[in-house]
């Protein structure tokens, strides 16, 4: 009902807006990018900035990069960014991490589409296949390495992926793509942008894709755990010009998919995910600055055998971005969110919280060479539980959930231009990873037997947030004579109060005569990581481009009890994080042809097979794309992934599915 009201209200405003002409005020990424000759972003501070001037460690993947990647899924595209880790568990499921600490259903990454969180809040992970977006409607993907929760809030602890779509007011994107490939892969994607009158611009998109799951070569994965990945998605994005200085943007989305997935215990399970969302953003360029008010609602209906997760999240925020004098930019904001999850598999309870989060950002251009940025955000989370408990649960009162968690996130950055070609960037960040609703008690799996026989698996309302502190020094060097640039970085990161999974090998609450043995989530360790990263990229006359990067990380876990506990609770990051990962890419293009190749190397690491670790060998992958574009905009492309090996362990080894070679032929028409 609330969702219907939201849509109805938005539709009414859009209808009113369609009546009279005006020119809108908003951040026109395309015009600013053309003006400054480089991508523009708001993901670093909330203020529009040139990509080379941001006080964070960021890579921007352009629309051209996406197209020439030859990949049709976001994880593969993002995994080619320096420092990014990927666990390819199945044909339709991958988990992304930044500089180690990756895991099944990784909850450390904040993923957004136009500022709307699209990670699934019950587990805190991102189901990439469920993101309601077509690749051809993406303007750019902004990847921030390191915490940035002072700007974005919870989850932004290892990094942020902000996916920016084209704005229908400024970008008339139209695209149709058909594709087919090996292993039964098929896909169709349509993006269309049009104006309704002089004041309303709309972009709609829809797509569907299917492929066969990788061959199952292990008895650890049963037939019931496997589902051929298939997803349908649709999206609408409408921008209405309300006045010369005000515009309203309304976005709605829907997705429905099913696939083989690896859940947080590193076990395979057939999985179905449905999402829908509605969002309205009002932007006003006033004498008091750029004021933005936004509200959105995400709905999730996820089904893992035996457990159905129904999650609703509503977020409302208001912010003002303004300049003081000529050298100071300030952003003040206030966000409210309401997040609730029905307990599962036990039906009858609901865990919820509200968050009130004031924030402030201050950027000071101290001189032509030095710019300083400070941002802070206070998140006050108020937890609550309603409903009943299964008989036999040690917890029988909702009062145990009446708890507040207050944490401050901080981002500090200094950008110093030594010369026009040399830039030093020093950053500090304190990010907060709040417990997920599932960890706080949304997960509630009672046994079929009466207490004290059997065991209860559940969340823990007293779980503390993990706090990630990150220190980084980066040096960027432009090499104009070579049409290239290079970068060197060193960093240190500390995570306090790492949240461990439940383990049926470690009872957290012993049984009594009337209650079950209970297993739940708990904070089990601290962890430190130090590392370095080298990257370079450039162009060569004649249409060539190249890039290369390597990232080294050394994770050192500090368990509160012992190392075995970290393995049982699936947070032995010291073993499960590869020390090295790197990429080499090269390409060439002229007016008609483009050829691109990608090589990725990942050092050996460990994964989980039940309660023990299993080694995953170091591996290299090769991917490529050849495309021919006709003058009328029709493009034919042949692309391939995992070209070196038709059965390669990229996430688990003996207990997992092996990544297969895939070829895809696509026909694309843009107009």
């Amino acid at each position: 009902m609330k969702k219907q009201n939201l849509f109805a209200g938005a539709a009414a405003v859009l209808a009113i807006a369609a009546a009279a002409p005006a020119s809108a005020q908003s951040i026109d990424y395309g015009s600013l990018e053309t003006l400054f000759g480089e991508p523009v972003t708001t993901s670093a501070t909330g203020s529009p900035q040139r990509s080379t001037e941001v006080p964070v460690d960021m890579t921007i993947i352009s629309a051209a990069d996406i197209k020439r990647s030859g990949a049709f899924d976001l994880p593969t595209i993002i995994s080619r960014v320096a420092g990014v880790d990927i666990l390819n568990f199945a044909a339709g499921q991958s988990d992304i991490g930044v500089r180690g600490y990756n895991q099944a259903r990784s909850p450390r990454l904040l993923v957004l589409i136009n500022g709307r969180q699209v990670y699934l809040d019950h587990f805190g992970y991102t189901d990439w296949a469920a993101l309601p977006i077509q690749l051809s409607e993406i303007r750019q993907i902004e990847v921030v390495r390191g915490p940035n929760s002072a700007i974005f809030g919870f989850n932004a602890v290892s990094g942020v992926v902000n996916i920016i779509t084209y704005n229908p007011k400024f970008d008339k994107t139209n695209n149709l793509e058909l594709r087919a490939g090996t292993n039964g892969a098929t896909g169709v994607s349509l993006v269309s942008t049009f104006d309704l009158g002089e004041r309303l611009s709309v972009r709609v998109s829809a797509g569907n894709e299917h492929e066969n799951e990788w061959k199952n070569t292990t008895t650890a994965v049963t037939r019931a755990m496997v589902h051929n990945p298939s997803t349908a998605r649709a999206n609408i994005d409408a921008v209405a010009t309300l006045s010369p200085k005000a515009q309203l943007r309304v976005e709605g989305s829907w997705s429905n998919g099913a696939s083989t997935q690896v859940i947080s215990t590193f076990a395979y399970a057939a999985h179905r995910v449905k999402t829908d969302s509605a969002k309205a953003t009002l932007s006003v360029d006033s004498t008091y600055g750029l004021i933005q008010a936004q509200v959105y609602k995400n709905n999730l209906d996820a089904l893992t055998p035996g457990r159905r997760y129904l999650n609703e999240i509503t977020v409302a925020s208001v912010e003002d971005l303004f300049k003081i004098g000529s050298d100071h930019t300030v952003r003040v904001g206030l966000e409210y969110r309401d997040n609730q999850l029905d307990t599962a598999s036990y039906v009858g309870g609901a865990v919820s919280y509200t968050v009130l989060a004031p924030s402030v950002m201050w950027n000071w251009v101290a001189s032509d060479k030095l710019s300083l940025t400070a941002a802070a955000r206070l998140d006050k989370l108020s937890l609550e539980r309603t409903g009943t408990f299964p008989a036999g649960s040690p917890a029988q009162s909702n009062a145990a959930w009446d708890r507040d968690i207050s944490e401050v996130s901080v981002n500090l950055g200094a950008v110093y231009k030594l010369t026009p070609q040399d830039t030093l960037r020093a950053t500090y960040a304190r990010g907060v990873q709040a417990p997920t609703l599932l960890e706080l008690g949304g997960l509630l799996i009672p046994p079929a037997t009466a207490a004290p026989t059997g065991a209860l698996i559940t969340g823990n309302p007293n779980l503390d947030p993990a706090v990630v502190s990150n220190y980084q020094l980066a040096y960027d060097r432009d090499l104009p004579a070579l049409k290239a640039k290079a970068s060197a970085k060193i960093f240190f990161q500390k995570t306090e109060a790492v949240k461990g999974q439940f383990s049926t090998a470690q009872a957290d609450v012993p049984a009594t005569a009337t209650t079950w043995t209970t297993y739940y989530y708990r904070n089990v360790s601290d962890s430190e990581m130090k590392g370095a990263e080298l990257s370079a990229s450039g162009k060569i006359d004649g249409g060539f481009h190249w890039s290369a990067d390597v990232t080294y990380t050394d994770v050192n876990d500090k368990p509160f009890t012992n190392d075995a506990t970290l393995i049982l609770r699936k947070v032995a990051f010291e073993q499960t994080s590869p020390k090295y990962r790197g990429n080499v890419a090269a390409g060439w293009s002229n007016n008609a042809w483009s050829v691109d190749g990608f090589v990725r190397y990942v050092d050996d690491f460990a994964s989980y097979n039940g309660n023990v670790l299993e080694p995953v060998d170091a591996y290299a992958t090769v991917a490529g794309r050849v495309a021919y574009r006709m003058e009328n905009g029709l493009e034919f492309a042949l692309s391939g992934q995992n070209l070196l090996d038709d059965g390669q362990a990229q996430a688990k080894s003996t207990s997992g599915l092996l990544a297969e070679r895939r070829m895809m032929f696509s026909i694309n028409k843009a107009w």
């Binding site: 015009s31 003006l35 529009p48 040139r50 971005l321 300049k323 000529s326 026009p420």
Partner: protein, 176 residues
Amino acid sequence: MYVTRKKPVLMGVLALALAAPALAHADAAKDLQVAARALTFLENGPTGKATLGVVFDPSKPASVAEKNAVMAALGAGLSAGGLTLVGKPVEAGAVSGASGVQALFVTRGVNYAAVGGAAKGKKLVTISSDPACAQSGACVMSVATEPKVDITVNRAAAAAVGVAFKAAFRMMIKEI
């Protein structure tokens, strides 16, 4: 020994002097592109076809050379977003009487203060490729493209001609 060390310097200066017109022409095209795009971020700025007065001092060869380069770059019309700029040479002494122009491009070497004063009287936006023009308060905006795009807006000069830039643009440039 002393003489032999001076020769390469002299030859270098000579080479730079000979190369200057070509460089000026190349830079003028880039500068014009940036200037035209920057004008699209003016509140209630010009749209459609607009005339850019190119202010020059006929007694200053550098000014004349830049005027010629700018006029060549504008050609039959330079498009940026919804704006198409055409050029019209304006002698520095004739700015106060200039008509039919929506903005002025001030070439290097003219008397910035005098041109700026006249432009303010006519409420015209002034742009230069010389940072000194904006820094002195004579010009509203200066643009540079090497080694990277650099835009400086003089807030007092902008206020004097009654223009304001859009907020997002202001946050990405240098204001003085």
